[in-house]
Amino acid sequence: MRTATPGIERIFSWSSIDSKSRVVILVSLLLICTIPQSTGQETITGWGEVESWTDNDLNAAVIHGTNVWVFGDFGTVRYSEDNGATWHNHSALGNADLIAADSLDDSMAVLSADGIIHMMFGLDADWEKIDSGQSGINGIAVTGEQSVVIVGDKGAIWQYTDETWWNRTTTFNENLHDVAFNGDQDGLAVGDAGTILATNDGGATWDYRAAPDADSSIVSVSYFNPYRMFAVSDSGQILYSTSPGGFEWQLREIESMDYETTLATTLSSIEVVSSSRILFAGPDGYLGLSLDQGLNVERNILPAGVNTSFNDHAMFDYVVGIVVGDSGVILFTDRAGENEDIGFEIPDYNNFGEFVEYADDMLLAGFIATVKIVVFGILLGFTIGVILAMLKTAPTSFKNVLERYSTNQIRGLGAYCSVIGLWLLYTGVSRFPELQLEGLEYIFTPVGDPRGFAMFALGLAIVAISIQFILADKKLSGPLFKVRPLNSLATVYTDFFRNTPLIVQFMFIHFGLRLGMRIQQLMEGTFGDPGIDGIDYFFYGDRTFLSAIFTLGLNSGAYQCETIRGAISAIPSGQMEAGRSIGLTYLGTMRLVILPQAIRICIPPIGNEMVNLVLNSSLAMVIGYSELSRQGKLMIATTFQIFSAWGLVMISYFVVTWTLALILRRLEDTTRIPGLGISGGS
């Protein structure tokens, strides 16, 4: 005795699979899981670690002429003459930590933690020492041949020019962390409490700029040009200003972080290398790169074994440069630090791995799209098929409908209909001249208003029918009353859909009737705008999707109708009599007695029909629905891998249809009635 199990378990249940099949399934799953990742395009780091010959923390890096210099704790100095690939030792500049550096033209200045500034005027010149006499200085900027600006705690700003120190400290006494100049006049200083100060006279006077976030501690600023100013806070915010002089600052809503205003990591340095490219550095091994002014920030992969705090960049241009960090780490890049898969390699699609790398997303999208229309198409098609089959087998004739009315009522109806019919005939005929037909040979020429013909034909039909109504006798014996209207309706439908090509139906329904658009508008009116994702977009966001479902469903319904009708005819008429004899209605007997048996009989041919529907769904490409075949075409357009693309598409179709066939086979087994029919088993 089979116990009834609910839902999907009737079709698939693990416990009902024999042990051999279980082993096959498990091995297949294992094989799928252990397929190695394609190596066509792996992501590797754009940074390479170079030997710095020191373990001291490196705090600052600066380009000076064709050389690049780095400075670190205990006066450590290293320089490179080949863009940072190899490094040379340089005698220490004092014993104090070197914490910041800057250069302008041929001048370079290094800030020491004890307030001493080491300067080099001219390339390959000697170091000169200038004592600022200050402590708690954090940032330095070179503003001219013999001038620098330094900023520090409690709002301290000092300007060195004409061999003299000037105190430019303003009333804003928050700690300042960084200062940056564009040329020798325009500068920015940033610090705690969102402080941004700007100068346009080389650092003599400073103005306060409104902070977009008064709680952030701005740690680094970059003045790229008068329209591109960027800063970062230690809480990961990116601040930017595009107004000349930096009057207005805003927090970047970072697209790659779902429009949050923080990168969710601590930042220590920003380096703007072109009008759109920005490099970020932070503690805990954070290196970031944005190609679009901070809208999208991608975290850079680090070389193996490197996980230090990064302090400063020095870039020759947007491609070549270095970044320095704690423990003497210097990373060198000659590809802008980008992870290597970002567009610097031309994929070779002849390599199957790389082709798959490119094609798998498209194939998956097409697969899902196909499954979507197939599932809905099958549901719709089966429903329509059952309804049509019931209409076709319905015994209701005009006589059944009309026999409860008196003869006079029927004649009255006939008279009323004949008036309508004659009016339609008259209107239709009077419109014939509008067709501007000049002879029978022009009958297919689409000029004028074809509705005239339609009204004429309809009128003729109604008059013919109403004449029979008028002539009706008491027994309703006229030929019209034997007509089964439901059957006729279904016959017209199935004949029409079975005798026209599916591809034409697709185009007629989508472009001619614009069914998808109409349904979409209807749904929009009811449920609102579908947006770009979510459940509402899934159902009515794509009008080709709606058209495809309906075309497939309507077409398949016409074919399934005949199959189901055949199965209904195969049920002995006694079953209907038995159902009716216990008082069930015709529809009740259909639903409870006939259809449950008929559907069981026609599962094999219906399965055929459903497989056909899957295969026919490929024609949805003609209306622009992006199902598997269309995706295949698009894949070829980019990769030219015709064999592989169509091969994969074909396999995908096979997966869908074969799964469907297996489900139906299983359904057939589980719904088989014991002791009924020749089944060759069970």
Partner: protein, 277 residues
């Protein structure tokens, strides 16, 4: 005289091909009475029976159930049918449903009972036809006699005012007939109103209170069951004598069942009924 349950007046049925199968049949069925309709093949017995619950629409005539005409377009045919049980020659059990579900289907979907209530009633009637041990079987796995008893239970469960039997035993093997006839006889003893179309002359004589003999679509003779022993009309006499020719003598039947092949026929449960040359 008990109340008249079913009254048939001047019933005519003309089939589409022009065959006039029933020509003015009239008879009454009283409360608690069992009426057997006998007659040769093609005499219109089954047509009359099917006209009663309108599986066939009569061409003319009046059929009344407890004084209310039921063959008008305005009569609720489904309600009428739920008051009249029907048992078919070929059982017509719903093959996709278990025995118990066959019986509960009408109770649940016509009478509107809950599943539990319906099953209670179903088990009760299945007990009456002695089918309790097969309630979870599918009809395909039952023998013919068991099927027919389930069909009787299905009709009984609806608490009909009258049950129509359309040759209930003629599709059964001889050794299976007994249990079905026993069941019907039990119903008659309980006072169920029944109309039985049958070939079993002996059974008609034993069970039926009244016999209606149809010939060529007309009632040729009608009377108490004694008319079988003592037919008044020549036509019935002829019919009965032809029936007796077909009947298997008791002694031979015993040998048939025991498997004596000397008679050219062994009842293996698949062939037609036994015939002796």
């Amino acid at each position: 005289m008990p109340e008249i349950v079913l009254s048939i007046r001047d019933l005519h049925k003309m089939y589409a091909g022009g065959v006039h199968a029933v020509r003015g049949v009239s008879f009454d069925v009283h409360e608690g009475e069992s009426v057997a309709i006998i007659g040769s093949s093609g005499s219109g017995k089954s047509t009359v029976l099917r006209c009663i619950n309108r599986l066939i629409e009569p061409t003319d005539g009046v059929i009344e159930l407890r004084g209310e005409q039921i063959n008008t377009p305005s009569a609720d045919v489904n309600r009428v049918r739920s008051r009249i049980g029907m048992v078919f020659q070929s059982f017509e059990l719903f093959a996709h449903l278990k025995v118990v579900d066959n019986v509960t289907l009408g109770l649940r979907h016509v009478r509107g009972m809950s599943k539990d209530e319906a099953e209670k009633v179903a088990l009760e009637v299945l007990g009456r036809v002695d089918m309790l041990e097969r309630v979870d079987a599918y009809p395909g796995n039952l023998s013919g006699g068991q099927k027919q008893r389930v069909a009787i239970a299905r009709a009984l469960a609806m608490m009909p005012e009258v049950i129509l039997f359309d040759e209930p035993t003629s599709a059964l093997d001889p050794e299976l007939i007994g249990s079905v006839l026993q069941t019907i006889r039990g119903l008659a003893d309980e006072g169920m109103t029944m109309v039985i179309v049958t070939h079993e002359i002996n059974f008609a004589r034993d069970v039926a209170d009244r016999i209606v003999y149809l010939d060529h679509g007309q009632v040729a003779e009608e009377g108490p069951s004694s008319i079988i022993n003592d037919p008044k009309t020549e036509r019935l006499q002829k019919f009965l004598s032809s029936m007796h020719e077909d009947e298997v003598p008791e002694a031979i039947e015993k040998e048939l069942v025991d498997g004596n092949t000397g008679y050219g026929y062994v009842p293996d449960g698949k062939g037609a009924g036994p015939r002796v040359r």
